[in-house]
Amino acid sequence: MMAGNGNKNGAAVITARDLTMAYGDFVVMRDLNFTVEQRDIFIIMGGSGSGKSTLLRHMIGLEEPAKGEIFYGEENFTRADEGERRRIMRRVGVLFQSGALWSSMTLSENIGLLLEANTHLNPAEIREVASLKLSLVGLKGFEDYYPSEISGGMQKRAGLARAMALDPIVLFFDEPSAGLDPISAHRLDELIVELRDSLGATIIVVTHEVASILAIGTNSIFLDAETRTITARGNPRELLARSDNPKIRAFLTRGQEPMEKQ
């Protein structure tokens, strides 16, 4: 089940070409071009309402681009049919902004459902794997709890365990540390790096936690709601050290270097 395959570092895992996203007539972002490479921890940054979650939804096929395309490796995800998309998504894990655990199932069933549908494990084995995944996020012993019986932060972690159920090679996180206490947030950062190193996974994180962006990000894009494009990109630490874009500087220094008035 090890997902770390022989691909060398630097191969393109996800590519967006001229991606324009809109809700009806309301254009959220236009003509985005970027590449997520193998083993990247790719950060999607931007202010509230700039379209980060929207971009994530496009990348996992929940919204259709108004224009442009998304590629997984060499495969055109936007033009792919249902079956091909499902095959591609089989190796992709997603943690939604609100956790989105299935409320009618226990934590163990939440994870087990994916294993049941995609593997030939028997029920006892499924339960064991589910326990293992839960213990990775510090929720051992909560197998038979329903999502409504645990706290918001715990739901988030359980959502992460579910996202990891099928040993994905690409993992999406929408605001992973929102709602977590500082220690758990820090542990989650470590876990993300650990997942990248141990599974060889490529990780895409939507976040505005500057500490975590600087700690784990290897590449990033900054969505600017005003121009509706990417106004900065690259390793966040280098952006902080070298970028002369006032908006990204203000973002990464949490406004301590305010951008000058327009």
């Binding site: 007539d25 309301f26 254009v27 939804r57 996992i60 096929g61 929940l62 499902r86 998504m89 089989r90 992709v92 997603v94 939604f96 902004q97 609100s98 989105a100 655990l101 299935w102 409320s103 009618s104 459902l113 994916l114 549908a117 995609n118 709601a225 005003e226 327009q262």
Partner: protein, 382 residues
């Protein structure tokens, strides 16, 4: 310097006076400005703007202010900008200046503002028409997807949890029995009373048995069960699925390779459609019992006579007709419950709307379907 208005102060309204010198218009708000006494209109200022190049403020006699002054000044700044007039804010209290700076810090996102204020009637009609067409289209699309899902179900390719199906069967079956018992028993009693009053006039009390038997099996059993199930189970389906939409659970299904149609809709539709005829059969029986209670207890019909009359009245055709109707109602209720849930918006109030509209649509469509079937059975002589 003027202070923000204390909250409980009585509203003695603030006033606004003007002074023109050269090309400068000085606005002099004075007294207590409060939202309770309204916001002065800009037309006064607008009229005086001819030849003015600068607006300034003198607030020396302003006693207190609140959002009314802020709103007034913001509107004024917009007006001035449109007419190319400078606004000198230095005369304003510093609190007002700071709040207005704050309000202007993030520029308005022009196309984010909703444009549907003050539409002419003709546009309303057009928008409503387009909405109806779109709704019809999405209903048909949902129907199509449901048919495809059934195709997968019958070729054993649909993926759903057997445990879910079992749960919905209980939910739409056994758990509905108490309320179905109550309502159908009372339906039988009511039919019996209505019939008794009329039939007694020409000594035909015994035909109450016929009326109840035929009424229940052909119409009332299925229809009353449908109304109960629409309010009970159809509404629950819409609320469950709508909530799952809001909490992104449905997105999670899609993103993780499950077809929500197979996984969520199919078991619900199958369970309800399959349980409806059983519930109806039961409702028929209970209804006839209710009728018999009145017939035997109050109309002095002997139990044996009532029984014989009932068996004479019921035919297999009537029972089958009733069961067929219940099957149609079941499909309609499950369809609208799931449709409204799956197309629900992203908020708590949208879930409420989805639930209401699931119940209303399914009852309306059930009654319309009943009308069509009544005409058909008349034409076909059933």
């Amino acid at each position: 310097m003027a202070k923000p208005a204390p909250i409980q102060e009585a509203a003695t309204s603030g006033t606004l006076s003007f002074q023109e010198s050269d090309s400068t218009l000085v606005l002099r708000p004075s007294g207590r400005w409060s939202v309770e006494s309204g916001i002065p209109s800009l037309s006064e200022v607008d009229r005086r703007l001819g030849g003015i190049r600068r607006i300034a403020f003198d607030t020396s006699s302003l006693e207190s202010w609140d959002s009314s002054l802020l709103t007034f000044v913001t509107k004024l700044v917009e007006l001035a900008r449109a007419q190319g007039v400078d606004v000198d804010r230095s005369g304003l209290p510093s609190g007002v200046r700071r709040l207005i700076d704050l309000a202007e810090a993030v520029p308005e996102r022009k196309d984010a503002r909703r444009k549907d204020i003050d539409r002419p009637l003709i546009e309303d009609v057009g928008v409503a028409t387009i909405k109806t067409v779109e709704e019809t289209r999405s209903t048909l699309a949902f129907l199509g997807e449901l048919v495809l899902a059934f195709g997968r179900f019958f070729t054993f390719r649909a993926r759903y949890r057997a445990a879910d199906l079992w749960l919905f069967v209980q939910e739409a079956g056994a758990k509905a029995l108490p309320i179905v018992t109550l309502i159908s028993f009372l339906s039988g009693v009511i039919l019996s009373f209505v019939g008794a009053v009329q039939l007694r006039m020409f000594g035909g009390q015994i035909y109450v048995a016929d009326l109840v038997a035929i009424g229940m099996t052909r119409e009332m059993g299925a229809l009353m069960t449908a109304v109960i199930m629409a309010g009970r189970t159809g509404a629950a389906f819409a609320a469950q699925l709508g909530t799952m939409k809001v909490t992104q659970e449905i997105d999670a299904f899609k993103a993780m390779g499950f077809e929500p149609m197979d996984f969520l809709v199919l078991p619900r539709v199958i369970a309800l459609t399959a349980m409806m005829p059983l519930l109806t059969l039961y409702a028929n029986l209970v209804g006839m019992l209710g009728g018999a209670l009145i017939g035997i207890g109050m109309l002095d019909i002997t139990p044996a006579a009532y029984y014989v009359e009932t068996t004479k009245a019921i035919t297999v055709t009537y029972v089958l007709l009733g069961l067929f109707k219940s099957l149609v109602y079941g499909a309609i209720i499950a369809f609208f419950g799931c449709l409204r849930g799956m197309t629900c918006g992203n908020s708590a109030s949208a879930v409420g709307d989805a639930t209401t509209s699931a119940v209303v649509s399914s009852i309306v469509v059930c009654v319309v379907a009943n009308g069509i079937m009544a005409v058909l059975s008349y034409v076909l002589n059933i």
